[in-house]
């Protein structure tokens, strides 16, 4: 494959960013929108060409193994002779899959935004930022080395910052964007230190070198240990910290719900489908190394499992529909993390079970989740567009007014709940199978989370579309959105319906060899039953307005409040950052600087000043005093001379 198409995939969004960013102010908004959409459409087409030709052309498969193709790899910065940062394009199954996901969702969002953002100020800026994000995200997934990934990792962080803060006149948007950036930046610090450690021992940044021979990496790290764990484990856990930040794992999840302050299409693109799965992608990218760093996989699994449950519980108690979706995103990403965590790099466990199933399932879920979560977010956007509020209390009974949104949203809900034949069912089934095979506990735990997922999604669905009509509809009748917004919904809904039937294992596995997916019937039956039960419960509670939810809430008021307040994580962070870091550390350092260091320097000046004013008393202007001093001096000199020489 030539390098023209891959370069274009990156270059077009970058060019669009520069064009719209620098010249956008001078252009009419229509032109900007069309340019943005066309650019992204072209990129999507190219990405599909590249990805599909990678999957289907036989030249990329040798002995049944798909090859990792370094399309190009240019030196960007050389730290030492061996430690060189390249910018390149690494094409392999997960990369190709991500290319398709990112460009598809991005294109949908571009299209959708044309309708959604039509009346907003800074429409041109919005498209420029979207292009910047697409460029950064694409750069991230095609990274040939971990440093390139870090570069684009930061760039997606900043595009996310810019887009969350798009409505920069609102203080809430500003603080949300700041929070998102700083929290992920803090996580990136871990990532950076991890890279520092890893690259010091391996003397390379290159993914291919590291993952093709993880044993070598382990050997290079030697027996070095730090606080009881091997250096490699530390490095990998620290790198995962970066992933935890971007993918909003506990305890670094706090930015994601606030990030919903951004425009809804942005939430769909960045905070549901693409950027937040960067952490999963990172772990998948380094998978062989993670497998060999003992303990790090367990860490990932545990973090994922706790986060999944936590987010699911919190999602049950939110009022803002975007927040519900945000927590559902956290929960689903945690699902992927757990699934990755239980995967192994041994082909078969106990001689029959495929060890890399978790990996495959995780990637599969990443794919399906991107589609249905983007669908849900865009649906939520359409609702917000129609009702002008984020709260479900302002909605209810909308199914009659907005049929397209209703049906597509329902499809999304069914997909995420894991109902056959929607896409979520297939990926979730594979993930649960992998977890059950690893340890029954993870399986049971995550099945419970899956049940909760079904419950809160249908709670949301019913509260929006059933329950009771908001009386304000009489003044302001909500209606379906324009075609630019409906079209992406329909497309994504269609994809969510059929994506499950893609033989994903044929394309993406950890060792890049095909794997034939088959449904694990016991697991599937269990999860399906749990999901149906949860939906039934939601139906009973929320289909029509009734006092049942109120009573449930009053049964455990403390639990409800805690869940509603997200178990006080924000307050804890607020306390740590404002009270301790700002209030104590920064203030005391600033005080120390002014009153100790600076005062010492001023003190020197003061001492000099005092000394000189003490001395200047001699220069009183009184001539007679001068004479007296002079005379005494002369006498003294004479005396001294005399003493010395006689």
């Amino acid at each position: 494959m030539g390098s023209t198409l891959p370069i274009l995939i990156l270059a077009i969004p970058l060019f669009m960013f520069l064009l719209l960013g620098l010249g956008g102010v001078k252009m009419p908004r229509k032109v900007c929108g069309v340019l943005g959409i066309l650019g992204m459409g072209t990129t999507m087409t190219l990405a599909y060409i590249v990805a599909l030709s990678y999957f289907f052309c036989p030249e990329f498969t040798v002995d049944g193994v798909r090859q990792q193709v370094m399309v190009f790899d240019q030196t960007w910065l050389s730290f030492t002779d061996t430690l060189v940062v390249n910018l390149g394009f690494l094409l392999d199954p997960i990369c190709a899959m991500m290319l398709m996901v990112i460009t598809t969702i991005s294109f949908m969002v571009h299209l959708y935004s044309w309708g959604y953002m039509e009346h907003e100020d800074g429409f041109q800026r919005y498209y420029a930022f979207l292009s910047l994000f697409s460029f950064s995200m694409l750069g991230l997934v095609v990274a040939t080395n971990i440093f390139q990934m870090y570069i684009f990792w930061e760039l997606v962080g900043v595009s996310s910052y810019l887009l969350i803060g798009f409505f920069y006149k609102l203080p809430s948007a500003v603080s949300a964007s700041k929070k998102a950036f700083i929290v992920t930046r803090f996580a990136d610090l871990g990532f950076l230190i991890g890279i520092l450690i890893l690259s010091f021992y391996t003397d390379t940044f290159n993914f291919v070198e590291m993952t093709s021979n993880p044993g070598q990496v382990l050997a290079e790290c030697g027996g070095a240990t730090f606080m009881g764990a091997s250096v490699l484990t530390w490095a990998m856990v620290l790198i995962f910290t970066g992933g935890m930040g971007k993918s909003a794992m506990m305890p670094l999840h706090i930015w994601l719900p606030d990030a919903m302050e951004g425009p809804t299409p942005v939430s769909a693109l960045i905070h549901a489908a693409t950027m937040v799965v960067a952490g999963v992608y990172l772990v998948a990218r380094m998978f062989p190394v993670y497998c060999i760093a003992e303990g790090s996989m367990t860490f990932i699994t545990v973090v994922g499992a706790i986060t999944a449950f936590y987010a699911a519980v919190v999602a049950c108690a939110q009022i803002d529909i975007k927040r519900v979706l945000a927590f559902s995103t956290i929960s689903q990403i945690a699902f992927m993390m757990v699934s990755l965590g239980v995967a192994t790099d041994s082909p078969y466990i106990k001689g029959e079970f495929y060890g890399g199933l978790g990996y495959m399932a995780s990637m599969f879920h990443l794919f399906t989740h991107a589609m249905f979560k983007a669908l849900l977010f865009l649906g939520a956007g359409a609702l917000i567009h129609a009702v002008h509020s984020n709260d479900y209390t302002k909605m209810g009974g909308l199914r009659k007014y907005m049929p397209i949104t209703h049906w597509t949203f329902l499809i999304g809900c069914l997909a995420i709940a894991g109902i056959w034949p929607f896409s979520g069912f297939f990926s979730k089934d594979e993930m649960l199978a992998a977890m059950f095979e690893s340890h029954w506990f993870w399986g049971a735990w995550m099945t419970m989370v899956a049940g909760l997922t079904a419950f809160y999604m249908f709670r949301l669905y019913y509260l929006i579309f059933w329950w009771e009509e908001n009386p304000e509809y009489k003044h302001h009748t909500p209606h379906d959105s324009p075609w630019q917004m409906s079209l992406p919904l329909i497309i994504l809904a269609a994809v969510s319906c059929v994506a499950g039937f893609i033989p994903f294992g044929e394309f993406v596995t950890w060792n890049r060899m095909p794997y034939h997916i088959h449904i694990e019937l016991p697991v599937a039956a269990t999860s399906l039953t749990v999901a149906v039960l949860a939906i039934a419960l939601a139906t009973v509670m929320y289909r029509k307005k009734n006092p049942l939810p109120e009573r449930m809430r009053n049964l455990f008021p403390a639990l409800w409040t805690a869940a509603h307040r997200r178990f006080y994580w924000d307050e804890i962070y607020q306390f740590i950052t404002h009270k301790i870091i700002f209030g104590i550390i920064c203030k005391s350092i600033a005080w120390f600087d002014r009153h100790v260091i600076d005062a010492t320097m001023d003190g020197f000046a003061k001492i000099t000043n005092c000394a000189s004013s003490a001395i200047k008393g001699f220069q009183s202007g009184n001539v007679q005093a001068y004479v007296a001093w002079y005379f005494i001096g002369a006498v003294l000199l004479a005396g001294i001379t005399w003493l010395c020489f006689i």
Binding site: K616, Q619, S620, G621, N622, V623, Q624, V627, A628, F631
Partner: protein
């Protein structure tokens, strides 16, 4: 009984001591100037005495004294001009009123 050098130096020392005392203690600028003249005079006298007793063959001490007298005259003239000027400005000739020349 010889009139040796010491005999002549003693009055000179007394004159000098009086000059110093007067210059330090008197407040009136003219009185200070008078004290100053005493000091100068004592120095002049010393030149001459040393010349006469230690180097009887030469006359450099005397010439120096001549110069010193000339300079003393010049200095007194200027000093008195200044004092009169200050008197015009301040209204008296007290040295304590003239101490701005500092710092």
């Amino acid at each position: 009984m010889d009139l040796s050098i010491l005999w002549y130096l003693v009055p000179s020392v007394i004159m000098f001591a009086c000059g110093v005392f007067g210059f330090i203690t008197r407040k009136n600028m003219i009185a200070m100037l008078i004290s100053l003249e005493l000091i100068l005079n004592s120095a002049d006298l010393n030149f001459v005495i040393f010349n006469r007793f230690l180097f009887p063959g030469s006359m450099d001490g005397m010439i120096f004294t001549l110069f010193a007298i000339a300079i003393a005259a010049a200095e007194t003239a200027i000093a008195i001009a200044i004092i009169i000027n200050i008197y015009r400005a301040v209204g008296n000739t007290d040295i304590s009123g003239v101490n701005k020349l500092k710092f």
